[in-house]
């Protein structure tokens, strides 16, 4: 948290992955707990496969909606290379919750650019922590790729300055209003994401700390 007791969470990915929806749900959870909230996107032409970065700031009073480089409390990356692209936004040594999916844009396919060989390794080499898991595989196992953003929300649940249940409530409320038949599946996706993140976290702490 910053000096003004404001929490900065940056959620990044690609247009169509549900990044903005995930941040919206997170914002609703913070509002339900009485926080002031501002949420802003640098979406550009997001519907066209571009980069999406969604800034969420909450606390007693939020002024600027933008998270500045080096000040994010948590980075949630829906795609591996996007985790690398945005990791400088974190506080030194900060944590990236990362979906291991690689989504390759046409400029890489036609050979103009390279997809990084080891985005997770590069993020760690910059001194940040990474808890990585395959959110898409979890979503597909549950039967619907669109559950991916609920999986990602579940992964955040234990890294927020409020109880996981508050976030789960916000998710379930949203689905109860819009798609009641999806409530139970989303609960499962949330728990699966939470478990996947926990096991990624345990795996990381078991690894020897690399020399800085």
């Amino acid at each position: 948290m910053s000096e003004q007791n404001v929490t900065n969470i940056l959620v990044v990915g690609i247009g169509g992955q549900g990044v903005m929806t995930a941040t919206e749900i997170l914002a609703q959870a913070a509002i339900a707990l009485g926080h002031d909230v501002k949420k802003t996107e640098v979406a550009g032409m997001a519907q066209r496969g571009g980069v999406v970065s969604s800034h969420l700031r909450f606390g007693p009073k939020v002024l600027s909606p933008q998270i500045m480089p080096g000040t994010a409390d948590l980075l949630v990356a829906f795609e591996a290379a996007e985790g690398l692209r945005w990791c400088h936004m974190l506080k030194p040594g900060g944590l990236v919750l990362l979906n291991t999916a690689h989504i390759v844009p046409p400029v890489v396919d036609i050979g103009l650019y390279q997809y990084p060989d080891d985005p997770i390794g590069e993020i760690k080499a910059r001194g940040y922590q990474v808890h990585a898991f395959d959110a898409m595989a979890i979503a597909l196992e549950l039967g619907d790729v669109r559950l991916g953003n609920t999986v990602m929300l579940g992964a955040m649940a234990d890294h927020l300055p409020f109880p996981a249940e508050a976030l789960l409530d916000a998710i379930l409320q949203r689905f109860a209003a819009k798609k009641p038949q999806m409530v139970e599946l989303n609960r499962k996706a949330f728990e699966a994401g939470r478990a996947a993140e926990k096991s990624a976290s345990r795996a990381e702490s078991a690894e020897p700390v690399p020399a800085q």
Binding site: V37, K38, M45, A101, P105, V107, I110, Y115, E122
Partner: protein, 620 residues
């Protein structure tokens, strides 16, 4: 978007600036709201259209939208129109005379400046219009203020019988914050339109009499600005620097310098010069923080108030804390905060056309034809300038593809004498401002082939309907323009008009090849819907049979984002030339079976996908 049934009064809602303005427009008892879609302004009208008791429309362009609002305001109703910054360039012809007549019903014009260029062709500062047209400018700093100022702007507009500009920026339009909403106050229009030619018919004689009234109004607005509670001093204990600021920059200033005195301008035009002068006397240094141009700064300097501004701050982009803090530290002679971690170099993700977009067929075809100069226009098809097509050579303004094509034709030099001039324009852009350009090509016998890409929607802003869609803003059936008949009526010969399916590559290729050889104007209309709208029907997806793929890469040149290269190999052709082979797969989960990639695939390696294969979006 906000729900159809408005939330009850006193609710605290998480609203974007656009949603907050929409709510306020409705609460203010506004009767007529009009706009042409344009990022970042689009959602204002989209949300207004979900509210009851207010007429909303997508107009064909911003000028018409303002004229509709003007008519409603002349008739005594409250009226609203919204546009992106460049929209006001189009609408300004109406604005510059509207300022002489003024209004009866309140008229608020929301202009969304794209500071930071998230989705625009320039970064112009709409606050200039306040000066140019002698109209007041309100500048909100977040959603709550956007909501409150919109309501105040209607009252202000009626009080001074003047249109009010609500200047927003992307960082207001698209930021969500908490807004406490109120109730709608109905304002039945009882007076009606009052015949008054001296006021409403702006002949030279009539206008000459209204100009002094406009100057008189300037004085009244100035007095308002000096006293307005929207222009407020917030004291601070660190008076080494005092800030004059407005819009989103205000929040950045408060975030960066919580102890500094600030004069916040909510009614920023006309500038409350005396209020600033008094404020300046209380601080050591005065800094004007304004996005984009140094407007307030210049006016303060002209009034003899010493200040800093664009001498220490950029004239481009947002003035966020990471820009402000070092600039002010430098001004104070303090150590400048050190550079933080730098971003990692990662490939770019430029926006691309959608999977199965009908424009893919067009640009693939154009990329295969040599000796073309292609004047483009504004919309998704501007992306044709990018990889892998590189098949668009100019983009300037809405509808410009037509006039620029004619100019390329008439102004061609010796070097271009064999070049074919082709113009590409979408349906909505054609109806917005392209029709007149085509008429000019016809009238002046231009040698131009026009590709009119009719996808039945304003694609780039999210698939809003236009007069070519057959639907209105409410999704109700609406008269649908017949493009072939329209261009024929403009004077294009019937035999030079072709309606072509952009997924039928051989037909499209043949039609373009034939028409560019004919030295007169032709129009080729493609007629398949945008993949983002309901008219588009998905078909059975495709996949690649690995063993059959020869790596020729022809399908990659289509540019569909569902086609991925799995491996590259160097090979020597029988001619001895070295080539790079690209073996591919299709992301079956996102493929919608348009069949474009199948057509250039010689070895027939692309086939309909087997049903129930595990769908994976992930590439490891």
């Amino acid at each position: 978007m906000a729900s159809v049934m408005p939330a009850p009064s006193k609710s605290r809602l998480l609203l974007s600036g656009n949603e907050a303005v929409a709510r306020a427009v409705w609460e203010a008892g506004c009767h007529v709201a009009a706009a042409y879609p344009g990022t970042p302004s689009t959602e204002m009208l989209e949300v207004i259209s979900t509210y009851p008791d207010i007429y909303a429309e997508w107009s064909v362009n911003e000028k018409v939208s303002l004229e509709v609002a003007i008519g409603a305001a002349f008739a005594g109703s409250r009226a609203f129109c919204a546009m992106k910054h460049v929209g006001m360039n189009v609408a300004s012809d109406a604005l510059m005379t509207l300022t002489l007549t003024g209004v009866i019903g309140g008229l608020v014009i929301a202009i969304a400046d794209d500071v930071g260029l998230s989705s625009s062709q320039n970064e112009q500062d709409s606050r200039f219009w306040g000066r140019f047209a002698h109209v007041p400018v309100f500048e909100p700093s977040d959603s709550q203020e956007a909501y409150e100022m919109t309501k105040l702007a209607f009252d202000f507009s009626e009080k001074h019988q003047v249109p009010v500009i609500l200047r927003m920026t992307t960082r207001i339009n698209h930021v969500k914050g908490l807004v406490t909403v109120g109730e709608r106050i109905a304002r039945p229009n009882t007076g009606g339109f009052k015949k008054d030619p001296a006021r409403w018919v702006m002949t030279p004689a009539g206008a000459g009499k209204r100009i002094p009234l406009m100057f008189e109004r300037d004085g009244a607005l100035k007095a308002e600005s000096e006293q307005s509670p929207l222009n407020v001093v917030e004291s601070g204990r660190d008076a080494r620097v005092g800030f004059v600021t407005s819009g989103p920059a205000y929040m950045h200033v408060k975030e960066s310098f919580p102890d500094a005195p600030v004069l916040k301008l909510g009614l920023s035009c006309p500038v409350p010069v005396e209020k600033v002068r008094a404020f300046a006397a209380t601080v050591d240094k005065l800094v004007v923080v304004e996005e984009v141009e140094p407007l307030v700064e210049t006016e303060l300097k002209a009034a003899g108030i010493a200040c800093h501004g664009k001498d220490i701050l950029p004239k481009q982009g947002e003035l966020a804390p990471n820009v402000l803090k070092p600039a002010i530290a430098k001004l104070l002679g303090e150590p400048v905060p050190e550079n933080l971690a730098q971003p990692a170099p990662v490939f770019p993700r430029p926006p691309t056309m959608c999977v199965a977009c009908p424009h893919l067929g067009v640009y693939y075809t154009l990329s295969q034809i040599k000796n073309l100069t292609i004047s483009g226009d504004i919309g998704c098809y501007t992306l044709g300038a990018g990889h892998p097509w590189n098949a668009l050579d100019t983009t300037i303004s809405m509808g410009a593809a037509m006039g620029i094509a004619l100019g390329l034709d008439k102004g061609r030099g010796e070097a271009d004498k064999d070049k074919r001039i082709l113009a590409v324009i979408g349906d909505s852009t054609f109806l917005h401002m392209g029709m007149q350009g085509l008429l000019d090509i016809v009238y002046n016998r231009g040698n131009v082939t026009v590709l009119l890409l009719d996808n039945r929607a304003v694609g780039m802003t999210g698939g809003q309907p236009d007069p070519g869609s057959g639907r209105n803003i409410y999704g109700e059936p609406a008269p649908r323009v017949d493009f072939a008949k329209l261009v024929e009526a403009l004077g294009v010969k019937k035999e030079r008009i072709h309606v072509v399916d952009p997924y039928q590559l051989p037909v499209l290729f043949k039609t373009i090849r034939e028409e560019i050889k004919i030295p007169e104007v032709s129009v080729i209309i493609t007629d398949r819907p945008c993949v983002l709208i309901d008219d588009y029907k998905k078909q059975k997806p495709y996949e690649v049979i690995d063993e059959k793929c020869t790596g020729c890469g022809n399908c990659v040149e289509v540019g569909c984002p569902a086609i991925h290269v799995t491996r590259r190999e160097k090979a020597i052709k029988p001619s001895g030339k070295e080539v790079e082979l690209q073996f591919v797969r299709i992301e079956t989960a996102v493929c919608t079976g348009c069949g474009l990639c199948v057509q250039p695939c010689a070895p027939e390696a692309i086939v309909h996908a087997e049903p129930r294969r595990p769908m994976r979006l992930v590439k490891h």
